[in-house]
């Protein structure tokens, strides 16, 4: 649909395009600033000002990060929790979504109702903490993965996705001697790969960004994921990161802060292009169908 080139339309479009460009810039400039400062030589950062590109490139902040145990270890913890946690998420979610997508299954609507109710009401922080504690998960990395094994919302959307697969395919697989488990892994999941990938990435983002559950459940600082370390360095501004002292190293604390932010953000920016193709569709499917 095109509009006539009247003046009022031109002004409307002009204002609209300008505003949208500004909004887009406001969303992205802070990240560019962080990236630029993290690569800028300390003496230039010390002069202050708004740096949008590094005038003099320096890798000292990154060298520092990789010289400390704390930061490298916390990156390792985050990678481990993200990879293992996402696998657990996908297995648990698909295994439950498939039975829930079979209309003939007895007790199905009761199970669905039980799942939906958890979206409306929950036991709250303290009883949940107590359950995790009783299971002996405190201070174990399992506490970051098992208590969030299934998101009810993702489960319902995946169930709806499975339901759209034509029944005929499953019937013919049954005739060929497949049981339900075989159907799920050989037919349903391969056909739903775009959806599985989207949810895999959503879950992975959740795990990577996980902060509060680590504060709550993990006491030993060697098991902290990157987000908790990031908070210590940037928000609590503690110059001592576990085993080394930033000020002793004679580096701009600001560039270190920026470099840690880059590491805490990088994986998401890296998966974003792959994610973007699918998520809008996935989210819409879920929100429209409930």
């Amino acid at each position: 649909m095109t509009y006539d080139k009247t003046w009022s339309n031109r002004i409307f479009d002009g204002v609209n395009y300008t505003l949208l460009t500004l909004i887009g810039l406001v969303c992205i400039i802070p990240f560019i600033y962080v990236l630029a400062v993290s690569f800028t030589a300390p003496h230039i950062v010390a002069q202050g000002g708004f740096i949008l590109y590094p005038k003099e490139i320096s890798l000292s902040a990154y060298k520092y990060i990789f010289s400390t145990n704390t930061l490298v270890r916390s990156l390792g913890v985050s990678v481990y929790v993200t990879v293992v946690g996402t696998l657990i998420n996908l297995v648990f979610t698909s295994l439950l979504a498939y039975p829930l997508s079979r209309p003939h299954l007895k007790g199905r609507s009761l199970m669905l109702l039980a799942v939906l109710f958890t979206m409306l009401f929950n036991g709250g922080l303290i009883p949940t903490y107590y359950v995790v504690k009783s299971l002996g998960m405190i201070d174990s990395l399992w506490s970051l993965m098992i208590p969030s094994a299934i998101s009810a919302f993702n489960l319902i959307v995946l169930k709806n996705f499975f339901q759209q697969i034509p029944d005929g395919l499953e019937d013919s697989a049954k005739i060929d001697g497949c049981n339900d488990l075989g159907i799920l892994f050989r037919i349903v999941i391969p056909l739903s790969l775009p959806a599985i990938a989207t949810f895999g990435l959503f879950y992975a983002v959740d795990h990577w960004n996980k902060f509060f559950s680590a504060v709550m459940y993990i006491n030993t600082n060697t098991k902290w994921p990157i987000q908790v370390v990031l908070r210590e360095i940037v928000i609590n501004a503690s110059s001592r990161i576990g085993d080394t002292n930033i000020e002793e190293m004679n580096i701009q604390p600001l560039t270190i802060k920026m470099a840690v932010i880059v590491f805490a953000t990088l994986p998401i920016i890296a998966v974003y292009p792959f994610l973007q193709k699918h998520f809008a569709k996935g989210v819409m499917l879920g929100s429209v169908k409930g």
């Binding site: 709250g124 303290i126 009883p127 995790v132 339900d180 902060f211 908790v228």
Partner: protein, 323 residues
């Protein structure tokens, strides 16, 4: 062994004669779907253990909960913890902080994704539209720690870029992060920056479903762009707006726990402490399990009531509602 077998076959025979055909068929169906039930087992166990046991655990709010005695054996305390909570001076502070943040979010945050979606919808150049969308979605994917961290670095009075610019133009610096009066503004600004783009997705989906012929017809009748917006586009997404408003009211009291937790400092506690952060402090750092469970329960019940009321109102106004 031989005897056991004989008894079994006998028993089976008896069962077969006694049980109704209906029940047999039912069992057969269960057996036929045994793989499906087996598959569902881990997921159902998850919901049972991590969602329903904590719901049952709410009874600790009515007990003097002792961890070594558990939910089952701790002594009962009646409404003691609730009475204490409502009697505390803190109660009204928490109530005010929680509600003000929620209302600020509703007024300043809720309409913005709708406005942004309408603006994007007016863009006819697909590439430009997709480019802007890509940019505005990005902040949604980073953690609250990163968002709060970036704001700390940009807004600090000690060399933060925003304050340096302010100083250049006005000769003054504003302590955005230290002054309690800036706390709510900062919280709402951060929420908007992180989520406004992401919030457009659902409205853009609704807008994509509008029949283009309606616009053609309106233009034939001489309607300009504003009139088309007002008479076609907005009514078309009305029900989406109402549903999201209900959902928002359902989470009215959840003003973003992790977010507020990260922004709280000793200087802004008076305006920043909300029910959720109070539950954390009392329960997990001071070990008052029962008392903070009671506070949590109060919040959940108020939240649940808000959803039901909002849904009822939506139905009264002729919308579909969510439940």
């Amino acid at each position: 062994m031989k005897g056991g077998c004989a008894v079994n076959t006998q028993a089976n025979a008896e069962i077969r004669t006694k049980e109704s055909a209906y029940k047999l068929r039912w069992l057969k169906e269960l057996a036929k779907d045994r793989w499906l039930y087996l598959m569902a087992l881990p997921g159902l166990a998850y919901f049972l253990i991590f969602k329903y046991v904590p719901m049952y655990g709410i009874i600790m709010a009515f007990q003097d909960f002792k961890p070594h005695l558990g939910f089952l054996n701790s002594p009962w305390a009646g409404l003691k913890h609730f009475e204490r909570f409502f009697g505390e001076d803190q109660f009204w502070m928490l109530f005010r902080n929680t509600f003000l943040l929620a209302i600020y979010n509703l007024i300043f945050f809720f309409p913005l994704p709708i406005v942004l979606a309408l603006m994007l919808n007016e863009v006819r150049r697909e590439r430009f539209k997709r480019f802007v969308q890509t940019l505005v979605y990005i902040p949604h994917f980073v953690s609250w720690v990163v968002v709060v961290g970036i704001f700390y670095i940009l807004f600090t009075t000690e060399g933060g870029a925003v304050n340096e610019l302010l100083f250049k133009f006005t000769g003054q610096k504003i302590p955005f992060l230290l002054e309690p009066e800036w706390f709510r503004t900062m919280i709402v600004t951060q929420s908007i920056w992180k989520e406004v783009g992401w919030g457009t997705i659902i409205f853009l989906a609704a807008l994509a479903g509008v029949d283009l012929q309606l616009y053609e017809a309106a233009r034939m009748d001489g309607a300009g762009r504003w009139r088309q917006l007002w008479h076609i586009t907005l009514p078309a997404i009305r029900s989406t707006i109402v549903i999201l408003l209900i959902l928002r009211l359902g989470n009215f009291l959840d003003s973003g726990f992790e977010h507020i937790f990260l922004m709280l400092t000793s200087t802004n506690r008076e305006v920043g402490e909300v029910f959720d952060t109070y539950v954390y402090v009392k329960g997990l750092t001071q070990g008052q399990y029962s008392y903070s469970a009671a506070v949590g329960l109060f919040k959940s019940v108020v939240g649940l009531l808000l959803v039901l009321v909002a849904n009822w109102m939506a139905k009264r106004f002729g919308e579909e509602g969510v439940y």
